[in-house]
Subunit: 307 residues, 4 copies
């Protein structure tokens, strides 16, 4: 029941569409899901960093999760990110996600108070994972945001004993030394999602199968080509597509990664609306500047490629 | 209406008493408040870092705030800390605190997503402060936890224009260079609470009037003596009491500041219960070890001093 | 012989005057020393961060140290900073400083490889201090630059056993919690120089006697007034002069602290020349801009005050 | 003349052999070089982090560099790392290396004072590289040690204009996003050595040709197998050898990377002696413990493999 999902391919870290006033734009969720299915996305990771889960109220998080599950309608699995500063609230979110039919649960560490050791992190995650005991649970490792830079191999070792439904990690760090060890840990017992889009190729070289990311929402075509080249052993071709991905990321990063990517979604007809505070949105001038830069790197032509 | 409170003396950053199972121990709140009033505490700062506000659910935060206000019953002002990762939730908490009779509002920055500039922080706080427009609002600056190390003089400059009820800061940083500038800013327009107990004396030297801290809950007697000596110009005597405070802090820090201080509360008959995850509680052996160490530095005799 | 110097008052962290081509401007050293003596400076701390010791060759460091000692000619003591990445070289520099008549030695930690513990730092400093066994040795603690943030109370405890000529610290950190403990350690056995000019007042409140700093080279008059007011128990007046100091620091910091202060020296007729790479010098336009800002805060009038 | 060396394969970051008293053990240098040539190492990178260049005196650095060049005797190229805190000294070291026949120069950034921008770093490196104008110059990027985390693509863009002999980078960071961009920059104009041994495979996937590292001194056999598997397109086999490398690194890291690796050298008959302070050496008990652990992972059998 709580076995790893064993996804292979691109998992979209979905955006939460908002109205201009910051409220959730519910009607857009089914539209986004349909688009992602057409893009041959193999799973959805909702309410993570990309989905601004942490910036939504508990009620909104429940409703957004339910809406994505309903829209996916069993065609692709939905993993719900339930991490927050309050472990009790996260456990309730896990319970709710299980009740509405999520396929998996994931949680980031509390950040305000930081676990002081691997065992504290494991206890904290055990509390959350226990809210959805029938579902596979993935710890969301993103030390650049959380500042929780504990060793993930040790987390798996301790966690596998303590958390019955521990299924793996969402691994968002450049540390491929640690990533490869996690992938291979205990005969590949765990499912380790790779979470750095602009380093998908080296992630694959180290054993990644499923990758969760934000750019897969709107640039899936170049990553499908990367995956295909890699599968065929053509690393030079794979590097070529990875370079496109890197050019894309390099282009939007200076505008603020959250808001810039929501702007990109709008530019291709998938209006995700603004970000919530404390993420600052692009000014109209910045929006146009970003569009021009994306045009000059050929981004909009990638949309024409077959998925 | 939303003028600074202009408190002079010790403000307790209150503990949120919990049962052994982690649920809120409501009956203890009035007991704590009576004790603090007897200790000549001049105000309460509830649901901050000490009160684990961020580790409680939104409902619990509302109820704890209301309970403290009711227990204080107008005898001393209650400032409610409403900061969280979700600005919308924080604004609701501010609105609720205003409705139940809080005397002031305070908020820490979101931490998961960090404001990228002073102006973004100001916009974020404006959103929260707007939930309680009739109350003075204090931004809670604690960069060692939040990683938001923006310049507070610039915050006051920008914030005074944009946030009608901005009344000052809770300043928890060793940076007395910045603190003194904030105190003196615009003819001392703002109220800057000093938040580093083990550095109260240098804080006073730089112009602090009100100080918010956790150790004032259980070691107020030494700080009252420090304040008295300082008022009388006897810095040597003030240093002597500050040294007691430093010895105390040095003693409990290795046990983890949150859980160790809750243990200290219990040791003097004010059972605050455990901390919530991810703060790890003391083992019984650690509890005894801490008690022995406190005994050897004379801590328990300080309780016998007149407040 | 290697007793603490027990200096009380302002110790100048001297500049190393350079020619426009970056070579040492030897003739300026005596001029600087005379000026500092007129300013009632009670000691010289040469080749520290202000003196760019680390950016000079070993030969240059020897010669600069000797030159300052000769110019001081016994009127005020000279402490020579000998820290570097290479412990063997630092030991040689200590030996040389002793041989030319320095009054004390100081050393910063290696930075490229960082000591992994207090005991490693103590061993490293023991090696250096052993080069000048007849002179008092002061460890130079400046964690904002070195990243070596080990506890200084523990350093004193371990170091006092292991380093016969350990005399104290140059303490350049805002952490007055730790500073006060160091001052009071073992019945004030050690001499702890306070190293944060813009926080001199709170340093004094915590027990500082001697203070080492760069701004004392050119703004001594305001600090002498601060010291006088403090000695007379007039903290409000002391804060007023500290505020001048803070305004000064706030003004030059955005230009880069090293190069901006060398520019300030030139503006008052003490041409210190440029900094060496990797410190970037001010453009002529920046130089004029800084001069204008200093004029508007009244800096140049401070020069007219009696020392 | 100053064209990139275009090395393909393993470049050893050599150890500087020391006597027990810390002085350089000159006789060992030729022995080490012969061993490395037998291991099919394609180049030597001397006096970097592994070689403790920064912990040696300027005179020692000159002599060690000359000794390595003489021992290599033109059979494999020697790159000399000349970075230090003092740019003038580094320039002299570059000049000396050129005069004794080094094949290339490399320099790390000053660390005590950090360049405030890419252009400042470029100016600083231009000054150093100018000391050996006939040799290719490689900036040594190792932000985990230096704290200088400037963007390397921008460094290449600015540096290519300003530094005539700029030939590339030694890139020691997990950031393969940036690495791949550097490799591909301006039609692969630059030579970017990959510097993370435990991530060699993902480095190769991103386009690495030459790799500089410390473990190649004593575990070359597993890396040659990794390289062969990669060249044949057998990524699974390559991962298997990378896993061996990761197990090795994971084993010695807790003992302190510098001293532990010098101990490993001794265990296989290449006595490198101790490290200098502030690197702490292994106790005899730790040495035995490390040997046991290495035995249990099969390390000593790797020495039997044909290179």
């Amino acid at each position: 029941m709580s076995q790893p999902l064993r996804l292979s391919g691109l998992v979209a870290a979905t955006y939460t569409p908002l109205h201009a006033d910051g409220s959730v734009h519910w009607e857009r969720i089914p539209q986004f899901v349909e688009d992602l299915i057409q893009r041959k996305i193999v799973g959805l990771y909702v309410l993570g960093s990309t989905g601004e889960g942490i910036s939504l109220t508990t009620t909104e998080r429940c409703d957004v999760a339910a809406q994505f599950v309903e829209a996916a309608d069993g065609r692709i699995p939905v993993i719900v990110q339930v991490g927050s500063e309050c472990v009790a609230a996260s456990r309730q979110l896990a319970d709710h996600a299980e009740s509405v039919g999520a396929a998996g649960i994931s949680a980031v560490s509390p950040v305000y108070f930081k676990p002081d050791s691997v065992s504290t992190l494991v206890e904290t995650m055990a509390e959350i994972a226990g809210g959805a005991p029938s579902l596979p649970f993935y710890y969301y490792h993103i030390p650049s945001i959380t500042g929780v830079a504990l060793n993930m191999v040790e987390f798996l070792e301790t966690g596998a004993e303590r958390i019955p439904n521990l299924a793996g990690l969402k691994f968002t760090s450049q540390n491929l030394f640690e990533f490869q060890q996690c992938v291979e840990w205990n005969n590949q017992q765990m499912e380790i999602f790779w979470g750095v889009d602009e380093m998908l190729l080296p992630g694959l070289a180290c054993g990644a199968r499923g990758a969760v990311g934000s750019t897969y929402n709107y640039a899936s075509s170049i990553y499908h080509r990367l995956l295909k080249a890699f599968a065929e052993g053509d690393l030079q071709e794979a590097r070529r597509w990875q370079a496109c991905s890197q050019l894309l990321v390099k282009t939007f990063l200076p505008f603020g990664p959250r808001a810039a990517q929501k702007a990109i979604m709008s530019m291709i007809g998938l209006d995700a609306g603004p970000c919530r505070w404390p993420n600052r949105n692009l000014t109209p001038a910045q929006y146009e500047q970003l569009r021009e830069q994306l045009k000059s790197i050929g981004f909009f032509e990638w949309q024409e490629l077959t998925p």
